[in-house]
């Protein structure tokens, strides 16, 4: 296996390197990728067309919003997949053969620190989500941070404590609702007579110009993404950490 691996690595590496000489220099503003109308359009026109100063957010949630919807679906799929692979609904035989799970005693320092930190983390997460139009951030980033706050609860105390906040069903609901929010914007555009995910038409139902409708819808879909990511991040953690039993974590 080792020699096979070495051979394939050498061949692939040689193949990839052989094309490097053909690439434009690193950082060359005139490279095809940077000078073609695609990236130029995204840089120069995004603000005019969507009113979002953060081009990445605009491209993510609008120009390539369809991709992003499926990105969210990928996360959602991963969550469902892990549940379907790992989750044990029957109660007998918890964590057979795995490392022994200790019952945690509450630790004052860890507990207090986390108590203090978690609200701040969550607040920051909301900021990242909401301010994604103007600064680095967005639904994915904020969602991960938010999800991390729940994971921190589970880590600092135990999984049951985290479950009080986000029981399994609520996790799944959140994840599904997140995607529904995203796709709902698309569907709404469709019902109003435009193509799927063409937010501009939503100005008919929100008081704004078409360009502002895009701006606001993007915030909406980012919130949807954040829902899903938050929920699934926690779900992946809790399943993996409890070996699918959802009883006790690490």
């Amino acid at each position: 296996m080792k020699s096979l691996a070495l051979i394939s690595v050498v061949i692939t590496g040689w193949l990839l390197l052989s094309a490097v000489g053909d690439f434009p220099d690193w950082g060359d503003p005139d490279s095809p990728a940077n000078s073609y109308r695609l990236s130029q359009h995204f840089v120069t026109e995004t603000f005019h067309e969507t009113a979002v100063p953060n081009m990445v957010t605009a491209v993510l949630a609008d120009y390539r919003g369809y991709d992003t919807m499926f990105e969210t679906v990928v996360i959602f799929t991963a969550g469902i997949a892990i549940i379907s692979i790992l989750r044990v609904f029957r109660t007998e035989d918890p964590g057979a053969g795995g490392p022994k799970v200790y019952e945690k005693r509450p630790d004052l320092i860890v507990d207090t620190t986390c108590r203090l930190m978690i609200p701040i983390i969550q607040l920051f997460a909301l900021y990242v989500i909401a301010h994604g139009h103007h600064s680095p951030g967005g639904g994915f980033q904020g969602g991960v941070i938010f999800g991390a706050s729940f994971i921190l609860i589970a880590l600092s105390r135990d999984m049951q404590a985290a479950h009080k906040w986000v029981p399994e069903r609520r996790v799944l609901n959140l994840a599904g609702i997140g995607i529904l929010i995203y796709a709902g914007f698309g569907l709404a555009s469709m019902f109003l007579g435009y193509n799927f995910l063409d937010y501009a038409i939503l100005h008919k139902i929100i008081p704004a110009t078409p360009i502002e409708a895009r701006y606001h819808s993007m915030l909406g879909v980012e919130i949807g993404v954040a829902f899903t990511v938050t929920a699934i991040m926690y779900s992946i953690y809790s399943n993996l950490a409890s070996k699918g039993t959802m009883k006790e974590g690490l």
Partner: protein, 171 residues
């Protein structure tokens, strides 16, 4: 020195290939399933490095507009919006000269006065793409780990050859 020049001009691309091959080697050669997944993670991260390298522009900053550009834009926007609410017809009459509008009277371009230089900002597209790739990487890793855990639950080991032995011996 010539050689060094060649390398340095495309430094990132060389590095990405090397990182990627480390990952690929681990994916194929390692026997431990978690190590394989780590290799997979390295492999995917290398691709992210590659893509992000494409989008770099000398002398450009992150693809978010400068504050004053946005501010100028918002200024126009606010103005337009107020006018719109107060008296639509007036607004049209007064702005049709310098702002294009569509047939419903909505502006076709937001803040048309703001001038954005294409060379000021890095290519945003690759970042979007890589956001997706990261997400995919996380998802695959998660599923991979879940399957590994299931295998561990069922076979009591995560060494591939041991599992093969167990299957062969009919357990």
């Amino acid at each position: 020195m010539e050689f060094f020049e060649v390398i340095s001009a495309k430094f990132n691309y060389w590095i990405y290939v090397i990182i990627m091959m480390i990952g690929l080697y681990a994916m194929i050669a390692k026997n431990n399933m978690v190590k394989k997944l780590i290799g997979m993670s390295i492999f995917q991260t290398a691709i992210i490095l590659f893509y992000v390298s494409i989008g770099v522009k000398d002398g450009a900053t992150i693809p978010i507009l400068y504050h004053d550009q946005v501010h100028a834009g918002h200024h126009h926007d606010d103005h337009g919006e107020t006018a719109h609410h107060e008296s639509t017809d007036d607004h049209h009459a007064s702005t049709s000269g310098d702002h294009e509008t569509d047939k419903y009277g909505y502006p076709t371009r937001h803040a048309p006065d703001v001038v954005i230089d294409g060379n000021d900002f890095a290519n945003p597209l690759v970042h979007v793409l890589m956001l997706t790739a990261i997400v995919v990487g996380v998802a695959t890793l998660g599923v991979g780990l879940a399957i590994t855990q299931k295998l561990h639950r069922e076979f009591g080991t995560i060494e591939e050859n041991e599992i093969h032995d167990l299957i062969k011996s009919g357990k």
